[in-house]
Symmetry: D2
Subunit: 319 residues, 4 copies
Amino acid sequence: MADIDRINDLAHLGHHGIYTPRLQETVDYFVNLMGMDVIHEDGETVYLRCFGDYEVWGLKITRREQPGLEYVGWRTKSSAALARRVEWLEANGHAGRWVDDEYATGPMYEFLDPDGHAFRLYWETEKYVAPEGKKPAIPTNFQAYVGRGANVRHVDHVNLLARDVRAQREFWEDGFGLRTYEIILTEDGEGEVGAWMSSTIQGHELIYTQDQSRTGSGRLHHFAYIVDQREEVLRAADIMSDARIYIEVGPSKHTAIQGFYLYTREPGGNRIEVAHAGYFWFNPDSEPYIWTMEEWRTKPGWGMKTPPEFNTYGTPDVE
Amino acid sequence: MADIDRINDLAHLGHHGIYTPRLQETVDYFVNLMGMDVIHEDGETVYLRCFGDYEVWGLKITRREQPGLEYVGWRTKSSAALARRVEWLEANGHAGRWVDDEYATGPMYEFLDPDGHAFRLYWETEKYVAPEGKKPAIPTNFQAYVGRGANVRHVDHVNLLARDVRAQREFWEDGFGLRTYEIILTEDGEGEVGAWMSSTIQGHELIYTQDQSRTGSGRLHHFAYIVDQREEVLRAADIMSDARIYIEVGPSKHTAIQGFYLYTREPGGNRIEVAHAGYFWFNPDSEPYIWTMEEWRTKPGWGMKTPPEFNTYGTPDVE
Amino acid sequence: MADIDRINDLAHLGHHGIYTPRLQETVDYFVNLMGMDVIHEDGETVYLRCFGDYEVWGLKITRREQPGLEYVGWRTKSSAALARRVEWLEANGHAGRWVDDEYATGPMYEFLDPDGHAFRLYWETEKYVAPEGKKPAIPTNFQAYVGRGANVRHVDHVNLLARDVRAQREFWEDGFGLRTYEIILTEDGEGEVGAWMSSTIQGHELIYTQDQSRTGSGRLHHFAYIVDQREEVLRAADIMSDARIYIEVGPSKHTAIQGFYLYTREPGGNRIEVAHAGYFWFNPDSEPYIWTMEEWRTKPGWGMKTPPEFNTYGTPDVE
Amino acid sequence: MADIDRINDLAHLGHHGIYTPRLQETVDYFVNLMGMDVIHEDGETVYLRCFGDYEVWGLKITRREQPGLEYVGWRTKSSAALARRVEWLEANGHAGRWVDDEYATGPMYEFLDPDGHAFRLYWETEKYVAPEGKKPAIPTNFQAYVGRGANVRHVDHVNLLARDVRAQREFWEDGFGLRTYEIILTEDGEGEVGAWMSSTIQGHELIYTQDQSRTGSGRLHHFAYIVDQREEVLRAADIMSDARIYIEVGPSKHTAIQGFYLYTREPGGNRIEVAHAGYFWFNPDSEPYIWTMEEWRTKPGWGMKTPPEFNTYGTPDVE
């Protein structure tokens, strides 16, 4: 059992960026169907926020030929925490660079995980101040309730594809103290096809699953945005279905982390999840639950079978 | 027990009209916060529909100095049923007149209940055909899911104020075969302060409660619009609260009929409910449950205590 | 459009009987997992009730070598209504016989539908009077809330298998005035593979789907019991899954009638559904929605694909 | 803003003990109505667990003349974390003693907060291993779903009464790094009447509100147990109401932390909450939201008004 003093420097998954070849349709999807608001535009880039974001914005969308991930942000717990993580990165062969030209946020240290996904660590950020007409009744909220479309509250987690899941997992455990709650082994038990990690009691903030393509790297599986109740995932399915958005799978319940999900594709091609939670994990000394492929295939619990594309499709779509 | 062949001529509560002194604000409330769509405008009158209305429209809003009820519609089960009810009205001293100039609906027989509320019976009506962009995925729906605000599906019931509740109840039982599911007696047990009636297995379509004013007649207590799940009544409270709409009472559960409710006032002053159901009643030979005032005051079950204004306020607000 | 005075003699789907080869396990399933109470036992027969049944009991379970249907009951709207329906049956070649030896219910007229399923019409029935400890707080309830397992409120509908779905549908429309809300045609458009019928505004009380066996008749597809919220169907899946009950499909949403469902098999082999509703249908003059097999296969809306056994398995399992 | 490295030694609120004068009735309440299981008995003490507890038990109930709190447990994040906190306590005048005779748990360091409530810190604990018949389908669960009564998952938070709320708050902030999310000031703005604190992203684990009695100390306001969905709080109200348990207030939504609540009294007199969440707080550098009494009285948002006893009653009931 893990009787250790764990690194504790990451506060939460923060703002993040995606690419889309169809900027306007993608923005419309996030605004009208997911329930976000546009907060800033800058050329071919649009910044959006969920009503539950305490920062000015959470999602940055930029036009590009292929859809995919620009970066994943983590806010640190303090400026000292940020300095410590940068120090670790530079001491361990993962040196990156400071980026300081983003809208409404401070300097960010950008680096790559072993599979080539860009991440940004930051401490300074601008807090959202709701203008008249957006002020919430209860002052501990950040913005008035949106009540439009899926009405997502804020980002919940990100799932990235990687050639070597284990290498990714060890990178985040060693360098950032992320806890891994679940792992799925490869058929032969030698490798890993999935790992669910978190910096908090949430069952997942950062997921890696195996990239089955021959040539892809740094690819995105999906971003998930949270709603407050399972019922809202069901509502989201009505909304997406009637808007003729492609529903890949769901609403149903995952066995890993046990979240309640709905996966659609935004018009630019990125897979987006409307999620209700999953478990919270309080035990500080548990080991990850390790699924053999054999046990995983029997899929205990209930829920839909995910289609094959769920395991193969990512953005950019390399094959 | 009621071993009788009941009159069975009313299909359902149909389209209906209200007055408001603040037309634009009232329409905005129903569109942005309740989730209806404007379908037609004609001078100082606006016609709206819920996404679950099979008729072209359900709610007619007209500017007038005072808020209140224009009329309550009932659709009959057939043209013969309509003829039978008109015959009964005319034979029993409740003769009205034919109205045939309303948007997208056929001839209506308008008459007054004993307290002076206007009602309209009609058989012919125009069915909604969703245009491109509003077509639902499932063809048994009438329109694409709205997913905006409280997202009400259609009207559920109307509550009218009346000086003599018993006279109202007997009028509808005798003339239309409505079933009464619950009655509250006055303190002395001689009169009635409330009666819950329906033409179907729904616990209530038409409610009368006592008008405590000295001079009012034909007044409206509230219209209720239904949502699919109790969770949506809770969501509606967040929406209304953040929009700074006055919440009179709720969300909570009624003892009578056991519906889950949220009462707000639309900007024109009419009380409007977001409702989840209440019970369905299948037993054909039950008598109404009769509450003595003493039993009623102890309020079995759980739920908020309604404020005094819930028993006195109606539109127009005569005192 | 249907501008007719419809027959209106059936109040609701009433008590009903099933067979099981494993009496104790079947009863345990209904009590511990579905949330019913045993109300009476008589040799190899056990009578159960849901907390929302106004009659003394709703489900009769009898030991027999093969699982399947004993009978489906309909309560009529009056004694005259019962007499009328018996008269019609006898005048139209469907004469049955009076049965008068059932626990806590009056005389029942038992007859067969064209496929050979037994039905019983009855007017007289015994009302449940809750003993101390089962009395509900609100007197319009019939029994205290059970809060155990799936916590089903009462029966919602029954689905029977039949060789000739159209013959079944016409029998119930012609003889009993049931309304048909949806029909699925066979591949060639000549026949029908499914019909959803009701005596009320509920989207379904009685369903027929095609019996694909060569030799079966009078077979049961499933009985469905209702819960108040979609959330409770999801909870039921957790309960059934952890109790190692076989989940055939669900939780998910049907395209036909749009109910939210969970199908399990009780230990005796009968398919049982935990259901949340489906739509209510208020329009009195609509025609049934007719699905061609081609349109049906594209399955608009969202939801799980039902497995092949959903279309073939029934009780008794003849092949 | 709080740009600091916070103490991070507490993992979560852990097992806890209460007293009751009516042991059997209290246990029956927690088993039949709250959905817990008895796991061990020892003379006048009964140990219970929720299905979501990873430890063997979570709630200890002991017979005593007066109801009230025995102790609140915190599990630490490591053995080193435990040692650090004991060191701090002893260095700061809060020395306690080691207790090592509790069922299925390791040595606990027991000490008093400034108001005299007993707390226990522990690292070693026994993990629950579900026996046959209680094994969950999904191995990351600890036990099969209970599906009985309110079906609570595990403890969520505890609310203690204290004469000097500020002294309590500073004790936990200084000694344990708890974050305070909300504070209510006294009328004159000099003192505090409420403080909501947590060791995690949950809005509250430990609450202090003012003890308005003249002589009480170390008193309990309530323990709260969590359910997964708001809908389950509503269900719990039906269960409690029909079981004739006193409902003090709810179901409704709190303004502070925004949890959805139902407060009942268990038969021994302790106030117990069925709770859905409240917000999660991700921002690491926010200050607590400070309510003046004037702002607090206007109660933004929606929800029931709590009755006066909610502010005065605690256990033991000293006046």
